[in-house]
């Protein structure tokens, strides 16, 4: 899992201000990491920028956990 997972993790830690060890694959942004709905929009924006990809709204809605994000980005880059 690689580089993409590490970069995703770093963005999540920075953006949500959470402990690094809480950012595990199964962690839900909203339920486990304290994000609100606007935070999730901002995270998607940050992922788009970091990886140079575009995440459409319907795909963004399916990204609920750290693992979801990593999986989506791996398929998109």
């Amino acid at each position: 899992m690689s580089d993409i997972a590490d970069r995703v993790k770093k963005i999540v830690v920075e953006h949500l201000g959470v402990e690094e060890d809480k950012v595990v694959e199964s962690a839900s942004f909203i339920d486990d990491l304290g994000a609100d709905s606007l935070d999730t929009v901002e995270l998607v924006m940050a992922f788009e920028e970091e990886f140079g990809i575009e995440i459409p709204d319907d795909a963004a809605e399916t990204i609920q956990t750290v693992g979801d994000a990593v999986t989506f980005i791996k398929g998109a880059v």
């Binding site: 606007l38 929009v41 924006m45």
Partner: protein, 245 residues
Amino acid sequence: MFDLTGKTALVTGASGGIGGAIAQALHGAGATVALSGTREGPLNDLASALGDRAHVVPANLSNAEAAAGLIKDAAAAMGSVDILVNNAGITRDNLFMRMSDEEWSQVMDVNLTGVFRLSRAALRGMMKSRWGRIVNITSVVGATGNPGQGNYAAAKAGLVGMSKSLAYEVASRGITVNCVAPGFIATPMTDSLTDDQKGKILSQIPAGRMGTPEEIAAAVLYLASPEAAYVTGATLHVNGGMAMV
């Protein structure tokens, strides 16, 4: 107070009297401004009168793609859009019973949907920089109604509800969303009124005179400033007491 040095501002409808005064006020406070409108001539004139820190970005806001494109153009010219002043607006007055679907939807497209699209496109940059100001120019008739302006009054009242909802969503990100509601303002449009028409209007204004574009611009400058950081979801009425709401 009200120093906008280093900030960037996009003003729509800048070819009109009020929009031009707003651009001038923001520029005078140190902001870099992007002037938008449909008529390039007056925009270029204003830009050259302002000198440095002024860019022209024409757009027709009745077109859906034009709104997102305008934010991109303005950001390309200035580096960012920190302040968005949605001033562009049109009227298609008619008695309600005679109003066509087209007259209704043209006004909605530009005055309400256009503002929605521009604001949505501008938010991304504002969210990232954790600072932003959206100032929507509404109208006293959005609060009071006006015969012959069912479409215009609906769009302006709609802006108030839209601004409040957006203000809720983005307040935690340092972005404020407010409205300025002008009353009767002396512009080329009101110059063409007859003395009789003017007399009737003035009799309803406690201040006894029409307002000036500069008086609207001053309200916008305040709401755009760092000093107004704690004001959001508000409508600032500038109408000489014509409607105290």
